[in-house]
Amino acid sequence: MVYSHYLLSSHQGTPLTQALREEGAVIATATATEPAVELIGITKRFPGVVANRDIRLRVAKGRIHAIVGENGAGKSTLMKILYGMQRPDEGEIRVDGSAVGFHTPADAIAAGIGMVHQHFMLADNLTVLENVVLGSEPRRGGVALDFGEARRKIKEISDAYGLGIRPDVPVEELGVGDRQRVEILKVLYRGARILILDEPTAVLVPHEVEELFDNLRGLVHEGLTILFISHKLDEVLRVADEITVIRRGTTVATVDPKDVTARKLAELMVGSELPSPETRESTVTDVVALSVRDLSVRASDGRAIVDGVSFDIRKGEVLGIAGVEGNGQAELVEAIMGIRPCEVGTLTLGGADIAHWSTLRRRTGGIGYIPEDRHRHGLLLESSLWENRILGHQNQKPNSKGIWIDRAGARSDTRRIVEQYDVRTPGIDVVASALSGGNQQKLIVGREMSGDPVLLIASHPTRGVDVGAQAAIWDHLRTARAAGLAVLLISADLDELIGLSDSLKVLLRGAIVADVDPANVTPEQLGSAMTGAGEGV
């Protein structure tokens, strides 16, 4: 059985050789070539941006089809379109060969499409049963909810696919893996034949990832089709039958995982320009800027989210923290910033004990902070750029004099940042929400580098920004490091971590499990260290 690989890129891009593929014995030949879903020329515009442009995609029935792309490449928008949450401006969606037009998720559900969202769509206060049947409840006598029937059906599906779900437990009592299985069951309960999984492994620990992949293989075995969205290349290569790469809102290529390496996929994802974050000549000094000893953060139930973390960052050093998201990175950062209460042995900044300092005092003392979620923590979206310049630096020059705000000082310094950091804006009186993500981030970087910080905490500094802004932000980090700034870098982008860091530590379940030398580690090695498989790389 010959299966032809097709190239979707309409512009330049390396033409990939046709791949031949032996069909697996399990899947019937008839269904293999028949597309379950076809997207033809999907385009979606939002004010100021084109999220999807001429997307072309063909998903074969009974396969796991992965869609990979960088954060912000337009994967999520595409999935929302496919699930009826947003409508495309142009293009056609075909399910099982016939064109469909989805107005709401209900239409997509009716067409047999189900979605497992990245952020679980579960109501904590409701039981598993209530969450599962919501929207398509079995009825008794036309009005009442038939709990018995619902329980029976859930049990049946759970047993058939080995999901192991108890229907009457409140969702709040479930762990992450269980919640994901509830999400999958929700979709199966609605009779979906095509499952979309949006970044399903982002919140899972390694053994849970394995369990999920086993579940997925079981589902495909039963003839279901799975669309698997991810930016984790090793996982995609492990589980997918086919991979489509999406870059800057458009599909670039569809490849067979057997024919490509992670490196090759990464190149397809970022395109030919592939900005390199590499910094090689060391600027590390002997002066310790930040010293952390035995820092722990506990959840309300007493469980340690960050567990006895210790490290030093010297001036001119970038210390990278690698780890699967949700392993305590965010809490570690918040503890160092004084936002979250923690237990700590010693916490010194430039020799001063800052453990009991307030957040503002820590900032004044020389910590710059690029938060993970710039919309929630980094900006006042409805305030002007110059007011955002003041944010976090409200007690420092040139923003204030004593108890007064220095408008003129803040405004002229904002102009300086706009110019030096190339923030593309018509002026400094524009509200922050009007800027693109990259420009917002450049403003934040400029702000946090102002006032000669001793330490910069950069949490996912280039997440969701365009490639140009990414390169610029990397440049700024390098320059500041050369000038003696100590940087704590947290990122999910392994290339960024390896390229920028002078030393790397791996955080797993809140504890540092490995020290890695970025000079001789590959993303693959680092990735396995993060999952706990390759401790002591």
Binding site: F46, P47, G48, V49, V50, A51, G72, S76, T77, Q86, R248, E273, G338, I339, T359, L360, R361, R362, R363, R376, H377, G378, L379, L380, E382, S383, I390, L391, G392, Q394, I403, W404, I405, R407, V418, Q420, Y421, D422, R424, T425, P426, G427, V430, V431, S433, A434, L435, S436, M449, G464, V465, D466, G468, A469, A471, A472, D475, H476, T479, A480
Partner: protein, 397 residues
């Protein structure tokens, strides 16, 4: 290329385009919302009047005629002073996303205690005036502080706690009057009158009438200026507004939100304590059952109408007071004066909806405008479009 705000931007953009037409962005948009709301309220009121068989134009004309007579103007100013102070008290909380629904209870309790204090005449003349004002501010602040403390220590929403505290203040107030501070004269029970030397004199501001404008007008103006300066020119004000816009961003920026909540509640309560002062020290000189009630809620309405802006609220207070005071003349036309209550209600409801729509429209329009300006070649920072490679000369730190 970001996925920012797509959800919010997308659906509403087209809807609002239809809804508001091609409204150009500018400062006047903020004024447009209340003007439209007032016009809409006038329209609804007209319909109500027509249904009742009355002539709307005649009614509005009568309102305007009566409202511009000098004695009425004095009355309008005097009532507006209390309204404005009340709106300021509410607005301080609103700017921080803190809903002090309890201004009503705070000012009434403050007035009871302050009136009894002033009536006791422990201090002579001006000192007594100052003491009464300070006592009122302290009582208002303390009463509001309860809600602030419950919020930061026990997580009790200030909305619920201040509503409950309003009722408790009512009970406490009438208990204080009847069992402790009250003096029975005839059938009326009231606090001992404040002696003549502690009365705040009026000002002959309006020509053509012998009636005097309440001296507390000066205080109201001072408070309005202070409110503006505090919020817009001080670090405290910046932190307060930042917290109101985004609590997580404020926390990440080193704002001590717990302390801010308590301090803001105390400030709001202290200003609330002043609401009753124009009446107490300039008008009635004692607290009785006839003491104006419900000013706290009027303040909420005016703060909403004036969008927490000191000038906007001043206009709102005058409008409210105008409607309240000149409504009496409608009786002559055989129209019940409560029609203005309907008009006020419609103004409030339509103004909050109008502001919300304008606000959304603004966000979308500004995003469009920025991306359009950046796409156009002579954009200020450089000729590059959003997705072009960065200008290398600009990328130096």
């Amino acid at each position: 290329m970001t996925e920012r705000d797509h959800g919010t931007g997308a659906g509403m953009g087209t809807f609002l385009d239809r809804m508001l037409g091609r409204v150009r962005l500018g400062g006047w948009l903020a004024v447009a919302a209340p003007v439209i709301a007032i016009a809409f309220a006038a329209l609804i009121t007209s319909v109500v009047l027509l249904v009742a068989g009355k002539a709307p134009l005649e009614a509005f004309n009568a309102l305007a005629q009566y409202g511009t007579r000098p004695p009425t103007m004095v009355l309008i100013l005097n009532t507006a002073v209390g309204y404005y102070i009340s709106a300021l008290a509410v607005a301080i909380g609103f700017r921080m996303n803190l809903f002090n629904i309890g201004v009503d209870g705070q000012y009434r309790l403050a007035a009871v205690v302050a009136a009894s204090f002033g009536g006791a005449a422990l201090l002579p003349g001006v000192l007594n005036i100052i003491a009464v004002v300070v006592v009122a501010m302290a009582v208002g602040a303390l009463w509001a502080a309860i809600a602030g403390l419950l919020k930061v220590t026990r997580g009790v929403s200030e909305v619920i706690s201040t509503i409950m505290l309003n009722a408790i203040a009512t009970g406490l107030g009438s208990w204080l009057i009847s069992d402790h501070f009250g003096v029975l004269t005839g059938n009326d029970i009231a606090t001992r009158p404040i002696p003549d030397d502690a009365h705040v004199p009026g000002m002959p501001l309006i020509a053509g009438t012998a009636q005097l404008v309440n001296g507390f007008l000066v205080l109201a103006v001072v408070l309005g200026v202070a409110y503006y300066v505090l919020l817009n020119r001080t670090r405290f004000g910046f932190e307060l507004r930042a917290t109101g816009q985004s609590e997580p961003a404020a926390v990440a920026s080193g704002v001590g939100v717990k302390k801010m909540v308590v301090v803001t509640m105390i400030m709001s309560g202290a200003v609330a304590g002043l609401i009753g002062m124009p009446e107490l020290l300039g008008q009635s000189f004692k607290y009785s059952n006839n003491f104006p009630a419900g000013l706290g809620f009027t303040g909420i309405a005016i703060a909403l109408l004036g969008r927490n802006n000191p000038v906007g609220m001043a206009i709102g207070a005058l409008l409210w007071s105008f409607l309240d005071n000149s409504s009496n003349t409608l009786q002559l036309l055989d129209i019940s004066k409560e029609i203005v209550a309907i008009m006020q209600g419609v103004i409030i409801l339509s103004v909050i909806i109008a502001y919300e729509l304008v606000h959304r429209y603004r966000n979308v329009a500004e995003q469009r405008r920025v991306s359009r300006q950046l796409a156009a070649p002579p954009g200020p920072p450089g000729p590059a479009g959003p997705s072009a490679p960065p200008a290398p000369e600009g990328a130096r730190a």
